[in-house]
Amino acid sequence: MPPVILRVKEAPTGVPLEAESISPDLFADRSREEIEALPVALGNESHRLGDFFQVEGERSDQIEVDGSIPRVKWVGSGMTRGRVVIHGDVGMHAGSYMRGGEILIEGNAADFLGVEMEAGLIRVRGNAGHRAGAAYRGSKFGMRGGIILIEGDVGHEVGAYMRRGLVVIKGNAEDFLGARMAAGTICLFGRAGLRTGGGMQKGMIVCMHPVELLPTFAYDCIYAPIFLRILFKGLKRLGVQPTPQQANGLYRRYHGDLAEIGKGEILIPA
């Protein structure tokens, strides 16, 4: 099935374009004309997708965006299947509420990437902004499933309020990584900012470099968690190659946040 290709005709520069209609679910059964007619919002104005993108192809759940769209928001939001490839940067809220399929971002992703997603895979070749995989303000839980893999750095509060799922960051993270997480797994290969895991209840954060932990985390032991072997073997399938020391080595285990129920864990190579 050849993909539907979207070429940017007129990139928004001021007010961002809200384009949740860029979704495989909506493209799969539509002709080119129908795809062009899908609604998008520019501020309080309603427009057609075709006003901003030249559409090539039809009736496909594979979408390719040819170029950077850093001012286009909600790409792939709520999608349940198919694949979206963005050959460049993407705006805020990409893949939020996602329930299946895959999004590949070859550039950088803005804030709120994959927020409250339930399933599927998001890969970012570059950096991601704040609150990737987290919860929207006021929501009880962040991502509830699925995988976010970021090859670059991430901003603040990534994985905050996570309920389930996996976030892998090959670069560095800013402050409050996994703050208030309820479950799920975060694997950070770079360096962490301040207050990692602050307020976490359950869940696992693996940090490959030493972390300045909050005083509400308590040291338990040095051991080799078998589960990490399963996780790292799986990560190899996604192109992440932990070193043999990371995959088979010993970890220092800390549990916390003791200001909460304290059943979360932070693992740091010993």
């Binding site: 895979l121 051991y223 589960f227 799986g234 059943k263």
Partner: protein
């Protein structure tokens, strides 16, 4: 029909349907994976007295979820519920207790039984659930859930659910030997060859059974008793199926995940067994009244 000068009876083995599951046990090295597997397979020879039939699969897994050495164990029981009960008991008592072990489902099936989901309570509230999605696990579209149960050497990882499907139990053949040493040697040759077949176990000690049974007994409280027709010492006292010159009979029983696997194991087993000291090869059946599956020896060996 003869193979290597050994006549093959024109008869068939009668086997029946049992529910099967396959467990993959890993550990720090093969020795400890095998220790756990042996313990799990212990006292699992016959459904008649053990409630299930359990054995170690002869073929080693090419890869394991945690990349450590692993051993596969097959378990057969008459119902899905019985499979679940025996898995919980045997994994709980024999695998979880074994140092460094982890235990995974190794059977993709529609029906899945909660096993780790029950064993997790051993963690006394400190158990941790981890669900991994298909892109990480790499097998189809189902996520897999693991339980991490804290134990004294670290953590015991056990999969939440184990697949179960209909398998075949009771495939068999009988080696009629001139004397016991020759018959035993032939049976050992057969077992060595059969252990290279994937998806089968020979649940009796060393894969060989010397106390074959018939259905029923003269005692009301017993539903199976010694196979009088194949006991050399009863040749003149009971109706015998033993030709002159037979001094010992050994049986090999095969349980498999599929009828094809059982047939293949029987084929290679009989071929390997036929040699010096073997007078005849036969098979056990109940006149076709009990089992759904029939494995005709001539048909198997001519393919």
């Amino acid at each position: 029909m003869e193979i290597n000068g050994v006549p093959i009876d024109q008869t068939y083995a009668e086997a029946f349907t049992m529910y099967a599951s396959r467990v993959l046990i890993t550990a720090i090295n093969l020795r400890w994976a095998m220790e756990a597997a042996r313990s799990m397979a212990g006292f699992g020879t016959s459904v008649i007295g053990c409630g299930c039939e359990v054995g170690i699969e002869g073929t080693e897994p090419q890869e394991t979820p945690d990349d450590r050495p692993g051993v596969r164990v097959l378990l057969f029981a008459p119902s899905k519920k019985a499979v679940q009960e025996h898995l919980i008991k045997r994994i709980g008592q024999s695998v979880m207790t074994s140092p460094t072990s982890a235990c995974y489902n190794d059977l993709e099936a529609e029906d899945r039984l909660s096993v780790g989901g029950k064993l997790r309570f051993f963690g006394d509230g400190f158990q941790i659930s981890k669900r991994l999605e298909p892109p990480i696990i790499g097998n189809g579209s189902r996520p897999r859930r693991f339980w991490r149960i804290p134990v004294m050497d670290g953590e015991f990882v056990v999969e939440d659910r184990f697949g179960v499907h209909k398998g075949v139990a009771g495939g068999n053949f009988l080696l009629l030997g001139k004397e016991l040493p020759g018959a035993l040697e032939a049976a050992e040759r057969a077992i060595e060859a059969m252990r290279k077949v994937k998806g089968v176990i020979m649940p009796f000690p060393g894969g060989i059974v010397r106390s074959g049974s018939k259905v029923g007994s003269r005692y009301k409280f017993l539903n199976a008793s010694t196979n009088t027709a194949f006991c050399p010492s009863l040749r003149r006292q009971a109706q015998s199926e033993l030709p002159e010159g037979v001094g010992a009979v050994l049986e090999i029983v095969i349980d498999g995940l599929t009828p094809e696997a059982v047939a293949e194991a029987m084929r290679v087993g009989v071929r390997a067994a036929c040699g010096p000291g073997v007078v005849k090869i036969s098979a056990g059946n109940y006149g076709g009244k009990l089992g759904k599956h029939q494995f005709h020896l001539h048909q198997l060996l001519s393919s």
